[in-house]
């Protein structure tokens, strides 16, 4: 599976990032702010957030406006807007390339023209861009796409695909889901398309939680379903399961302990592949800080 890659600061705006998802979406984001806001958009007590999404070709349509509104509402709950009243934080996301879908039936399948597969990449780019621009944030988040395809036999449950959702997989899916979580486990965004029942949604929710924040319990809950990927997740997350047990004992200090564990073993987390998306984001930032601190090497 190709890993997601990211670069921080490729442009000369206040903050910028390029992100390539495992599925092949490449997006460049730029943020400027806090800057002067137009009088009609000015908010007396907080910063205005402007999100612009530009498609890979042509001009933005209703589809982009819809994605912009989803991003806007997510980012508004993340950015500490009251720090900069009467200013503007302007975020532009340019889609550079999208995976080729034409060979798989193109617009014949509704899922292939859906805007949901793009959403996690947009959210991830937006976060990295804001981190690069040192915009004060309440928390970080991670976002993932899940596809549900019909059960192979009537006695089994529908299959949930998590990582690397190919166009074939999209075409055969009955429903698509995007979830966004904060590291503390709060759900920030949940978008679903297609037909599914509440039981499937709950299973998808648990899987998404495991992918995003690597909660040991969530993975254990789905491991018994015979899905190879779930098994792999459990393996990678064994180290984290210990943490979650400790978290239960010691209420209140959850994040503190979590961060302490990561701090204590930075060498290990760098060598191994990140166990969840949150770990991956941290790795990207660590690499950037290391580059910024290069002048400190005096040898």
């Amino acid at each position: 599976m190709p890993a997601a890659t990211a670069t921080l600061g490729p442009l000369c705006s206040d903050g910028s990032a390029t992100y390539t998802s495992p599925e092949g979406y490449t997006i460049t984001g730029a943020v400027n702010g806090p800057i002067e806001v137009q009088r009609r958009d000015e908010l007396p007590e907080e910063a205005t957030i402007e999100v612009n999404i530009r498609p890979a070709n042509g001009v933005g349509t209703t589809r982009e406006r819809h994605l912009e509104s989803l991003l806007h509402s997510t980012l508004r709950s993340i950015i500490l807007t009251h720090t900069f009243p009467r200013t503007l934080i302007q975020l532009t996301l340019q889609i550079v390339s999208t995976p080729d879908k034409m060979g798989y039936g193109g617009s014949r399948y509704l899922n292939l023209s859906s805007s949901l597969p793009l959403l996690p990449s947009l959210l991830q780019t937006a976060l990295l861009t804001l981190l690069s621009g040192a915009i004060p944030l309440r928390t970080t988040y991670t976002s993932t796409l899940l596809a549900v395809s019909p059960a192979p036999s009537p006695s089994e449950k529908p299959t949930i695909h998590t990582s690397l959702i190919t166009p074939q997989c999209l075409a055969s899916a009955t429903s698509l889901h995007v979830f966004t979580f904060t590291p503390a486990g709060d759900l920030l965004l949940a978008e679903s398309e297609g037909s599914f029942d509440i039981e499937t949604w709950e299973r998808v929710y648990e899987r998404a939680e495991a992918v995003c924040i690597g909660d040991g319990e969530g993975v254990a809950g789905v491991a018994g379903e015979g899905d190879e990927k779930a098994g792999a997740n459990v393996k990678g997350l064994q180290g984290m399961e210990i943490d979650s047990e400790e978290e239960e004992e010691d209420e209140g200090g959850v994040r503190l302990l979590d961060a302490g564990v990561e701090e204590a073993a930075p060498a290990v987390s760098k060598k191994e592949t990140p166990q969840n998306l949150g770990g991956w984001v941290k790795g990207v930032v660590e690499a950037k800080v290391k580059e910024d601190m290069r002048w400190k090497n005096r040898n």
Binding site: I35, P85, G133, A134, L137, P183, R255, E286
Partner: protein
């Protein structure tokens, strides 16, 4: 500052990284306090601790400069008003006000005439959240200019905010931080320099060639993140032709 853990927004600063003195803890940029005793990060970067001053902050190199009281900055005059100049600290932000009388020895009759586009080295006298930023070019207590005022000649370069902060350190501290470019330049040539916290540095080497040589040395040190041997090599190379 042996260990500099990287933290992300929303991470709680672990208690073992907090300086353990009885003095009140000072929180620098990138951190916020949630009563009673939780300290959370708001920006991503390396956590820096100064146990002597009992201060803690997040070091990052990027982002836009946000005015803070007492920062020394290089501003550009945008407009000349009847009683104040409108100055730009960073592009696309509302103007800061520099009163005509905020210069050393300025009276209504003898005040410096600044054209639009002129550079001034000024201090931020107040930076309220809900009102305009105010600048001054003299010390409020002594009335002396203390090096501030209009910058004539020379050239201005954009550098990263982290580099601007490092250039404003004392020479000993600068060496300790591995920044020797200024020292290496000063050993060979004479030049004047003014560093603004807003990520701008003004250089005057007396002639154009010298100004460019000194300016590019500083900018390249910043862009390339050069260590101290590379800095000395760069200075030698740039000064060869001048």
């Amino acid at each position: 500052m042996a260990s500099t853990p990287v933290i992300l927004p929303g991470d709680v600063v672990p208690a073992e990284h907090l300086p353990s003195t009885k003095k009140a803890l000072t929180l620098g940029p990138g951190l916020r306090h949630t009563p009673p005793s939780t300290i959370t990060a708001t920006t991503a970067g390396a956590l820096s601790v100064d146990s002597k001053k009992n201060a803690i902050w997040i070091e990052h190199n990027n982002g836009r400069y946000v005015p803070h009281t007492n920062d020394l900055i290089i501003a550009t005059v945008r407009q000349t008003g009847s009683d104040a100049y409108q100055c730009a600290i960073t592009p696309h932000t509302p103007s800061a006000i520099l009163p005509n009388l905020a210069f050393e020895g300025a009276t209504k009759k003898t005040r410096p005439q600044l054209a639009s586009g002129q550079l001034v080295y000024a201090r931020i006298s107040s930076a309220p959240k809900h009102a305009e930023t105010e600048l001054e070019c003299m010390s409020a207590s002594s009335g002396k200019s203390e090096g501030m005022g209009p910058l004539k000649g020379g050239m201005v370069y954009d550098i990263s905010l982290g580099m601007a902060r490092r250039l404003m350190l004392s020479p000993a501290k600068m060496r300790e931080q591995g920044l020797v470019v200024l020292e290496a330049l000063a050993e060979k040539v004479q030049f004047e320099i003014a560093v603004g916290r807003n990520g701008r540095v003004w250089v005057d080497g007396g002639n154009v060639a010298m100004t460019l040589a000194v300016g590019t040395c500083i900018v390249e040190t910043d862009r390339g993140g050069l260590d101290f041997r590379e800095q000395r090599r760069l200075v030698e190379k740039k000064l060869k032709g001048v």
